[in-house]
Amino acid sequence: MVDGLLYRLRLLSLGTVVDKPWLIVEYFVSPRFVWGAALTLWITIVSLFFGILVGLLIALLQESKNRYLNALAIGYLWLFRGTPALFQIIFVFNVLPQFGITLSNFSSGVVALAMNEGAYMAEIVRSGLQAVGRGQRTAARALGMKEWQVMRHVVLPQALRIIIPPTGNQFIGMLKLSALVSAVAVEELLLVANQAASSNFRYLEALSAAGIYYLIFTTLFMLVQARIEDWASGKRRRRTRKASLFERMIGATGDGARVR
């Protein structure tokens, strides 16, 4: 009778489903998972870094007075915002070699993600630059500053404070987007979990281990982001209420959701 009761309790606690909970921990600390998680983080950082550079370039092309450069920027945005990121990754990996450009799986993934990210960062950079009024530039010029000094000391410091918070969101977006490069056999976290599970059908355990990594990364980064935003707002006394960590985690920061 005691046995029967225990059995029912195990049913209630989903014990039959999670019959080897330690397997999650085993996966979590296994070298393959650790390596996959590190690779996911690395793909995210490299892609975002180059994505920001591409975004800056596209933003400057858009702001340029040259019509052809404007058209180039618009064409770029149209192409990269109008097709799926997954499509872009597969395209870079499979089609570029036909034009003599052969990249490794990892490089293909990063190139595609960076170019995709650039299309979104351009808009963020551009709105940051535009938020700095023309009068600020005029005043700086009137003081005898050269154009690069106007950029460096007056426009960029003000634009950065507007650019940084949404860029933090892009980091989290990129962390999740990085899972797409599993499509070109880069052994990042999701592919590692998928492969581990497919050998023994322990999907729940393997995916849980991967999911925990993703959640740890996003949560840690949200904490970092709060620090960066504090820094970006400088010595100024904050008038606006800060978003709490919980609000950040569920995305309730009033920035609006981004679909991609």
């Binding site: 009068g135 010029r141 005898g144 500053m145 003000q158 404070r161």
Partner: protein, 248 residues
Amino acid sequence: MSSARSIVKVRGLNKSFGDLRVLKDVSLDVEAGKTVVVIGPSGSGKSTLLRCINLLEPIDSGSIEFDGQNITDFGRQAFKARRDIGMVFQNFELFAHLTALENIILAPMQVKGIAKAEAIATAQALLEKVRIPEKADFYPDELSGGQQQRVAIARALAMKPKAMLYDEPTSALDPEMIKEVLDVIQELSRDGITGMVVTHEMAFARRVADRVVFMESGQIVDDAATSEFFQGTSSERAKRFLEQILHH
């Protein structure tokens, strides 16, 4: 003109925005140590003239001489001329990310390479002069309009300019703050700082100006000593303008 040396010498200046001719053959001198007030109806080209003088607007034809040097074709070297010309804007345009003090020391340090300690000492003296030394560490959005404009004046003075251009310095201010700004400009004028002031403040013009320039439709229609101008003896057109604004 008298024998006094002209700091600003504008000759035959023409400027159009598209089909609109904003400045038509404008010539004018500002002598060293003097204060010239430019008045006239809105859209008469006063502010554009000021912006042309420190090369913030490209001109179509004519010449601009500053402190004995022809700066008309400075082009990309315009920043060199602007170092010696102070400018104050209608909307203050203090750098929003910097405190009052940081606003004032930025250009002396970056443009002239002055050491920080020296720049700060100068800035504090200037804040003293515009009567808000206690606001050094405040950000622009923590200051009233009148205070912001006085910091902006200090910022321009920190470059030790040879002339100051004031572009409607009190137009964006609440009435109770106009006086504090005009008092500062008057004091600078008394100190012998060459100035050109675009304004609608007639009482100020009468009190402070050495000369009044009256503009209408992009042309200078009168350019006279202040007393003559206000007595209405300098030109018929100026007389009518004064009657319009003073007697109703």
